[in-house]
């Protein structure tokens, strides 16, 4: 029978078709005159393609076989190979999920009728970004990979500068562009060296390269720099906060929830090429990871702009993922399967979790921006009353991202913790356990950051009465975050099933692993945890019922908040987000930097005065910008080559090519 062999639909083909469909979905909108039609058709295509793609990638994840497609063409770098193995399929899931959710969200957030100039371009590049991420996950040819990578990087740039009439946005765009191309330069070196090692641009299969060869270290370092810059690992994170803050919110959701993971995927994929990696690699990854986590969340605590806070927390989460990856690599180097399993399970599950709660929070912040017209947390307050649904969804995201049970963030951190603890009984790598208190510190700081975020937006009373009257969001803006919130809760309540999603990818990463035993063991532990989570929910319900019963018997009255005797409290006297984090910033002032101005008060009747706390970006402002301006001055003479004449630029390209060909001869 025709369908008996592979089924009617080859899932790999479905995933590829879905990826391409999303990529082309924005094109009709570019040519349609009437606003709105293009956006609607694009959203419909994207959602259906995402659903199909999600189903296909789930099926591919559990497929043991890998389907490979070869496209023969005459380009100099060899035939283009596309394949989807379990690792690719695992990373494809967040792509389809978040892109579909963000696309639906854009209908209400960036309606075509109100944004006639920007909407078609935004929709087009949104599709292109999604599609390029899908393709780079499938690419098995180094050059094709780089092409997809560049399309991704550039479409993200065009999405980010959607509101380019603002100066901040342009600046963020430039910083992003420089950072991403620095990364790409490293990747070019990385893939060229790989090609020199293997003889072709086809990416090597798992474990074929020796990690002992002299080039291996350089390849790994270049991959770490190139992919790490995209993922936002410290100190390569400089572009991240401003880029994520200034992009439209559904784009930030995709950038943070998915695009950063492409960097992680790159590191992950590169590591599979090598057999027997030295301990140093894992060590570097783990240390860079935990440093990113601590510093990232420390920066988040100090922020005033809510999207910047979320962006800094992305650095933290990528740090946690990288730590897990590092632990797993230490396990690979020391042939310790438990460590590989726990590190990898923690990292992969955190990738999945972060692609649930971070887009949830970015979409939530989109709702808030749509309602209030500002990103400054200190101007907000009391939105929980006018938009209760959005507030609830945002709360779920905030609790989840702090790694608090019974939501999903806790599950992945739990796996990492038991990974750290697992070496206590062993004779080697015992010091790994010192990562546990650091991760605990990260959790504590995350709680400060997200209490600050949630409370200053949704709780209390509005701090700025001039703000436009906010309103609850429309259905298309609430449904995507609601879906993500449900996923957060599901993974938190039934973590043992979520763990099954990561097995195939771990197995593909480290085939020697007898996952069956380990996964049964840790699945059982997560099963116990799920019971404890249910017990917690049951206790909450029980206490609530008792409390309601008690309340039904007593008189309830309402009054204003107790002002400790002071009768003239105003909304502006509330604790703002900045005042909330002020104590933490002063305690951790070695890591968090704020430019603080305090008023001097003189005399018995002081006149009005001014104070401010502005978070700074030390690395960018103190190191990168001065170095770049120095370089700019030194190489000022090259400006003569830059005159804006297109035909001369093409001549440059031709001349370069010619010289290179002569040289190769």
């Amino acid at each position: 029978m025709f369908y008996a062999r592979q089924g009617m639909f080859d899932p790999a083909l479905v995933a590829l078709a879905a990826t391409l469909a999303i990529g082309f979905s924005g094109i009709p909108g570019l040519f349609l005159r009437k606003p709105g039609l293009g956006q609607k058709s694009s959203v419909v295509i994207t959602i259906f393609a995402s659903l199909a793609g999600l189903a296909a990638s789930l099926q591919l994840l559990f497929n043991k076989t890998t389907t490979t497609y070869l496209i023969h063409w005459n380009l100099p770098f060899g035939s283009c190979e596309l394949a989807i193995d379990s690792i690719s399929a695992f990373f494809l899931m967040p792509v389809f999920l978040v892109v579909g959710a963000g696309s639906l969200f854009s209908l209400g957030y960036w309606p075509a009728v109100k944004n006639q100039e920007t909407e078609p371009v935004l929709t087009f590049f949104y599709g292109l970004l999604a599609s390029s991420m899908g393709l780079l996950l499938m690419a098995r040819n180094g050059v094709f990979f780089i092409i997809a990578w560049e399309i991704m990087a550039l479409s993200a740039y065009f999405l980010l500068v959607t509101e380019h009439e603002q100066k901040d946005v342009r600046r963020a765009g430039i910083v992003y562009l420089i950072a991403t191309h620095t990364g790409t330069a490293a990747l070019l070196v990385c893939f060229s060296l790989l090609a020199a090692q293997t003889g072709s641009f086809i990416l090597p299969a798992a474990g074929v390269l020796s990690a002992m060869s002299p080039f291996a270290g350089v390849i790994a370092l270049m991959a770490f720099i190139g992919f790490g810059a995209k993922a936002g690992i410290m100190p390569l994170h400089i572009w991240l906060p401003s880029a994520h803050a200034n992009a439209p919110s559904h784009v930030s959701a995709v950038m943070s929830g998915v695009m950063l993971k492409m960097g992680v995927y790159g590191i992950f994929r590169t590591l599979t090429f090598f057999n027997d990696p030295p301990l140093l690699w894992g060590g570097i990854l783990a240390i860079a990871g935990i440093a990113s986590a601590i510093l990232g969340i420390a920066f988040a605590v100090a922020q005033r702009d809510m999207k910047r806070l979320l962006a800094c927390s992305s650095i933290e989460n990528i740090g946690i993922i990288t730590t897990g990856l590092g632990v797993a690599m230490l396990g690979v180097s020391s042939h310790n399967t438990t460590l590989v399993y726990l590190g990898m399970a923690g990292a992969l599950l955190h990738i999945l979790n972060h692609s649930f709660f971070k887009p949830l929070l970015f979409l939530g912040s989109g709702i808030v921006i749509h309602a209030t017209g500002t990103r400054e947390m200190d101007q907000m307050g009391g939105l929980g009353k006018v938009m209760p649904r959005a507030a609830l969804l945002f709360l779920v995201g905030s609790v989840a991202i702090c790694g608090i049970p019974p939501l999903n963030g806790f599950v992945s951190e739990f796996l990492l913790y038991i990974g750290f603890f697992s070496q206590l009984k062993a004779s080697s790598l015992t010091y790994l356990v010192l990562l546990a208190p650091m991760l605990a510190l990260v959790g504590g700081l995350a709680t400060i950051a997200f209490i600050k975020l949630y409370s200053s937006i949704f709780l209390g009373t509005p701090r700025n009465s001039n703000a436009t009257a906010p309103h609850e969001a429309v259905f298309t803006m609430l449904a995507p975050p609601a879906l993500l919130a449900v996923l957060c809760l599901m993974v938190g309540i039934a973590p043992q099933f979520a763990l099954r999603l990561v097995f195939p990818a771990i197995e593909a990463f480290y085939p020697q692993l007898a996952t069956a035993d380990l996964s049964a063991e840790y699945g059982a532990i997560l099963g116990e945890m799920s019971l404890a989570g249910l017990l917690l929910l049951a206790t909450v319900i029980l206490v609530t019922l008792l409390w309601r019963w008690r309340m039904s018997l007593s008189n309830i009255s309402s009054a204003t908040t107790w002002g400790c005797g002071y009768q003239r409290g105003t909304n502006r006297m509330q604790y703002t987000g900045t005042s909330f984090s002020e104590l933490a910033v002063s305690v951790f002032n070695g890591i968090m930097h704020q430019r603080v101005e305090r008023p001097t008060i003189r005399g018995l009747f002081p006149s009005s005065t001014y104070c401010s706390d502005i978070p700074t970006e030390t690395l960018l402002e103190r190191v990168i910008v001065p170095v770049f301006s120095l370089v700019g001055k030194l190489f000022g003479f090259l400006h003569r080559l830059q005159h804006g004449l297109m035909h001369i630029y093409m001549l440059y390209i031709f001349a370069t090519l010619f010289i290179l060909m002569l040289w190769a001869h």
Binding site: V433, A436, V543, S554, A584
Partner: protein
């Protein structure tokens, strides 16, 4: 089964008594007769029968604060072994859940405080957030030390295997550990020298100021949850400090109750002999506690 029932019964009934003992001790030091031992129970019962005032600023978060705090502390009480008896719920890695359950309770307490829009409560929750963040590493260093000494990854296993002979062999590590843990016990439960649960001068406090707007049954829940938290963290601490077991089940329960009352007495003595620290000193002491327990960790994993 019997042990689980006693465990739950004690967790439900005993906590306010600890507050009573602390109060009585402090009264003795001050040369007063003091309130009866059962006064905290009377207070809670009285509050349960009172009416409630809700601020017009608040939303459901304000009402959820006390409920979630009590629920999380109650589940944490199920994870911690009381004396030499293992806890009703125990699995590998439960110590991580134990640590993070308190984070959930704290999250909702702080959110409830900020929901009132009062700057006093904002101040309180900012302090709580910062200080509990600093206390977090201490708990984890202690867990590492205990896990290494016992070779177990669950709270019951860790605490169950601490015996007098472990104290003989790794006394230095355990001493450092108990020092760090005692500091965190006092700070997490908002006792002197970190916080003074008795003053009602809002500017000086942490926990009391966060719950300033709660009244009636909600405040009863808060009082009870605070007592339960002291009880749960205290049970952890006292088990490390006094790992006594007689072998007989019922004598062990008796020993546990006596040791908990002894802990309350110690806390009462500390509170009577010390003044509250200046706020800027609090982070320093908490970091010192983290370093003490980090020392103990280094001693055992070297």
């Amino acid at each position: 089964m019997m042990n689980s029932i006693i465990h739950i019964f004690l967790a439900l009934v005993l906590p306010p008594l600890l507050l009573g003992v602390i109060g009585k001790t402090k009264a003795c030091f001050a040369g007063r007769v003091g309130a009866p031992f059962l006064q905290p129970y009377y207070d809670i019962l009285r509050l349960l029968h009172k009416g409630t005032v809700f601020s017009t600023t608040t939303t459901w978060i304000f009402r959820a604060g006390p409920i979630v705090t009590l629920a999380t502390t109650a589940v944490a009480a199920m994870l911690i072994p009381f004396g030499s008896h293992p806890s009703p719920i125990s699995f590998n890695g439960d110590m991580i859940l134990y640590a993070y359950l308190f984070a959930l309770g704290r999250f909702f307490t702080m959110a409830a405080a900020l929901d009132t829009g009062s700057s006093f409560e904002g101040m309180g929750s900012a302090r709580e957030a910062t200080f509990s963040c600093l206390a977090e590493p201490t708990l984890f260093f202690s867990l590492i030390t205990l896990s290494k000494l016992s070779g177990s990854y669950s709270l019951s296993g860790m605490l169950g295997s601490i015996t007098a002979s472990v104290w003989m062999n790794s006394g230095a590590a355990l001493l450092l550990l108990t020092g760090g843990m005692f500091i965190v016990l006092l700070s997490e439960n908002c006792r002197i020298p970190f916080d003074d649960p008795n003053t009602h001068l809002e500017l000086t406090m942490i926990h009391e100021v966060m719950v300033l707007d709660h009244s009636g049954p909600a405040f009863a829940i808060i009082q009870y949850a605070a007592a339960l938290k002291l009880y749960v963290l205290g049970a952890f601490f006292i088990r490390v400090l006094l790992p006594i077991a007689s072998g007989s089940q019922f004598i062990d329960w008796g020993l546990f109750v006596v040791s908990m009352l002894l802990l309350a007495l110690i806390i009462g003595v500390v509170e009577s002999c010390m003044a509250r620290l200046r706020l800027v000193r609090v982070p320093q002491l908490l970091v010192a506690a983290a370093i003490l327990s980090a020392f103990s960790t280094l001693l055992v994993i070297r």
